[in-house]
């Protein structure tokens, strides 16, 4: 039987909760502003999804929507829900389902890749016009950091063990 340190689930719980708040801010505040000959355009996370959809690239649009917005939100919510339940030794409804969704969605949480892509896009756009970072970019980066830390601090073996104690068996 694996020994479960009492505070094992607190870091992922705190990091996922912070990540969820930051993700809301990252989605509602512009990331950057691009200006050419006095005309400018602001970029939100959803703007690229809408523009690709408008251009008829539905598949790419949905892929970006899923990997950059939906999957990080679902992953962070699942991590928060699991962290809450496991830290307090509670069995809220749907715990088994949330555990399975967290496992399924984890590889598709690509917000760290999105944040690096934003940096590359800024470098590229600077060759063409004037680009200014907007506050939303900080939140995108912060969500990426929270997301990576949340994964690093989550010990899958210990989580399985605590889930087993709560009567939930997860088979990968």
């Amino acid at each position: 039987m694996l020994h479960i340190p009492e505070r094992s689930f607190q870091p992922p719980f705190a990091l996922s909760l912070t990540g969820l708040f930051l993700l809301i801010l990252a989605n509602f505040i512009p990331i950057l502003n691009f200006e050419v000959v006095g005309k400018s355009q602001a970029d939100f996370m959803i703007t690229g999804v809408i523009e690709l959809w408008r251009q008829g690239y539905f598949f790419i649009s949905l892929l970006v929507l899923f990997c950059a917005i939906i999957a990080p939100a679902v992953f962070l919510f699942c991590a928060f829900y699991l962290g809450f339940a496991l830290a307090l030794r509670m069995r809220p409804p749907g715990l088994a389902l949330v555990s399975r969704v967290a496992l399924a969605v984890r590889p598709w949480n690509l917000i760290p890749v999105y944040s690096i892509a934003t940096v590359v896009a800024v470098v590229k756009l600077r060759m063409l016009g004037e680009v200014t970072w907007q506050p939303g970019a900080r939140f995108v980066l912060a969500v990426a950091v929270m997301s990576v830390l949340c994964e690093q601090f989550s010990n899958r073996q210990i989580a399985y063990e605590r889930l087993k104690e709560l009567g939930v068996n997860i088979v990968e």
């Binding site: 000959v37 892929l63 970006v64």
Partner: protein, 163 residues
Amino acid sequence: MSLSDRSRVNLSRALVVTGLVLYIPSNVMPVMTMSIIGKVDPLTVLGGVRELYDSGLALIAGVVFLASFILPLAKLLALAWVLFLHGSPKLRRERCKVFKIVHAIGSWSMIDIFLLAVLAAVGQLGALASVTAEPGCLVFAVVLLCSLIAAEIYKPRLIWEGV
């Protein structure tokens, strides 16, 4: 719904072969067209890297080259090797290591798709500046998805069980 182990192996093989077949078209076809003040520039994945390099941004060009060009091919070839030796007792430990590395770093190849999304978002200033996606981005996305899904479907335990 859960897949049987044999289906996992077969599906992964099919996805890897599809990814390898589409890899060359994905790098030959333009993924986007950038138009800035009348100058129209269709860009392939490698064209974008070259543009960054020519502008003196060698480090960023290197990152994009690794993530968008080397990584998808390396991932597909590594998966092909793991799947080719499936069922054989040879090099099990090495295959497991390779598979875990591929699984951990594979998603970074999505950088070019996100780059397109960010550029398309801001590049909508009419005749002054516009960024439009090209069919090559669909092929490129399919290659990436083939490698990502193949790595998700195949499990390291199958290397040891060898069904």
